[in-house]
């Protein structure tokens, strides 16, 4: 009889101790570490993970960093790199000849073709010539706000003539890519980071990282859960330029990706009006349906593409699209600050 009491008391004690210990970030001998770098995809990359020592974590992060730098070079449309067959090479040879492409570039472009079909053209990687015009005017406008201007409509219209994705010809057997339209340009901004994040997640597991949260410029991908088994908590940022770092909603994430498209971070102003970087292919103008939309999906590439697609659609139209899809959920932040969600988003009601 007495033994029973001692046993239950001991159990109670262990339970209490465990509860106390689990509050601490160290678990099972794993410590939590963070790393940040600024040289990939022209944005901020942060990696949070658990490892037995800082040396192990640093080694793993260096491998991830190298992988990301490779994707950065492959998907670059502005620079060429020695010995790298990247998107710029394909663009430079438009209308002239098929060029050799890295197998991962071909994978990315196939994802682009697939996403074009699945989003009914809302995501179009062949939209580069229009995006290049906006990019140029936006950069000039940020550099010199007094003289910020909108691109002329006739220039945008002329560029929009050269965005037919069926002119993107991939020869997988030969490992080449050819743009049949000389004026057409690829821009993989809507899927590149998501594709890279997905590959990075797979690579992280290969090198033994089972609890990692990384963010490629706000494209967040969770490999597993935290070391103590609880999900990662990720904030959806308040879509106001002056509120960077505050969130409207926290989401629990384990083994899934979260990507936001919004009008509040990359934009410029012309005559006091804000023009964001995401262009609606239907109008050739920046989308302005709502301040932000966040997509949750298992595949980061899909999450990235659908967040762009939903950003250039009305909220109700987007909701109808999301509800038809399995494993894609979305949360919209409306102009009045209100939140709308698809049925399976599963937000933390305690917030």
């Amino acid at each position: 009889m007495k033994k029973k009491y001692i046993m239950s008391a001991a159990l109670l004690f262990s339970a209490l101790l465990l509860a106390v210990l689990s509050r601490h970030s160290s678990f099972g001998g794993m410590q939590r570490y963070e790393a940040t770098f600024l040289d990939v995809f022209d944005t901020v990359t942060s990696i949070t993970g658990y490892a037995k020592s800082e040396e192990i974590f640093t080694e793993q992060v260096e491998l991830l960093h190298a992988k990301l730098q490779r994707y950065h070079q492959l998907f670059d449309i502005y620079h060429s790199y020695e010995g790298v067959h990247n998107i710029k090479d394909i663009n430079d040879a438009a209308g002239r000849r098929p060029v050799e492409a890295d197998p991962e570039v071909i994978e990315l472009l196939k994802l682009g073709q697939d996403m074009y079909r699945r989003t009914e053209g809302k995501v179009n990687i062949a939209y580069g010539s229009v995006l290049a015009v906006w990019h140029e005017y936006r950069e000039a406008g940020i550099e010199n706000p007094q003289n910020a201007q909108l691109p002329p409509a006739d220039l945008l219209g002329a560029c929009a003539e050269h965005t037919d994705i069926s002119k993107l010809v991939i020869d997988e057997g030969a490992g080449t890519v050819f743009l049949e339209d000389e004026e057409m340009r690829l821009d993989v901004g809507s899927i590149g980071k998501g594709f890279a994040a997905q590959r990075l997640a797979e690579y992280a597991r290969e090198i033994g990282m089972e609890h990692v949260l990384f963010s490629l410029g706000g494209n967040v991908c969770a490999v597993g859960a935290k070391a103590d088994g609880t999900p990662w908590r990720v904030g959806i940022e308040k879509p106001r330029p002056e509120a960077q770092g505050s969130y409207v909603q926290a989401v629990e994430l384990a083994g899934r990706s979260l990507v936001t498209s919004g009008d509040y971070q990359r934009y410029y102003e012309v005559d006091g009006r804000r023009y964001c970087h995401i262009i609606d292919p239907e109008t050739g103008m920046p989308a302005e349906f709502f301040p932000s939309v966040t997509v949750m999906a298992e595949d980061s590439g899909m999450a990235d593409a659908f967040s762009t697609a939903l950003f250039v659609m009305g909220q109700e139209e987007g909701l109808a699209l999301v509800e038809e899809l399995e494993d894609v959920e979305a949360l919209w932040v409306m102009e009045d600050g209100g939140i709308r969600c698809s049925s399976g988003f599963g937000i933390d009601e305690e917030e």
Binding site: A10, L12, L21, H24, F37, L38, S46, V220, Q244
Partner: protein, 124 residues
């Protein structure tokens, strides 16, 4: 139950409470050590405890700068030469793992130690 059982259970509860108190104290001690670590282009340039109000001008070789202010236990970039001012717009940070980033100037201010942040990451 015998008297001894009560003593045993009370003793164990007290021990658990002590452990809880000890770890809470340890976490609180962690908070006191919270500091803002300034990195420029991946190189650590300085560490500033959050419990001492100060103002640091982060100067870059090309004349660019970010002004880091530490006040009331929080770190904030209040002025910068960069064109986008994303770092200035960012709210002040104070919790472990939170950071302020200026991409054009390659400046990262990250909080080390201190209280656990409410979220592990942010999507934007």
């Amino acid at each position: 139950m015998k008297k001894n059982d009560f003593i045993l259970i009370a003793g164990l509860l007290l021990a658990a409470l002590a452990a809880f108190g000890g770890i809470s104290w340890y976490l609180a001690a962690d908070t006191q050590k919270a500091e803002a670590v300034v990195e420029v282009d991946g190189q650590e340039k300085g560490r500033y405890p959050l419990d001492q109000d100060t103002s640091v001008e982060i100067q870059l070789e090309d004349g660019s700068y970010n002004l880091l202010e530490i006040k009331d236990g929080r770190a904030d970039i209040t002025e910068a030469s960069c064109p986008d001012k994303i770092c200035v717009d960012h709210r002040p940070v104070s919790r472990r793992g939170e950071s302020l980033v200026c991409l054009p100037n390659k400046v990262v201010v990250e909080i080390e130690n201190g209280q656990e942040a409410e979220v592990d990451g942010m999507t934007h």
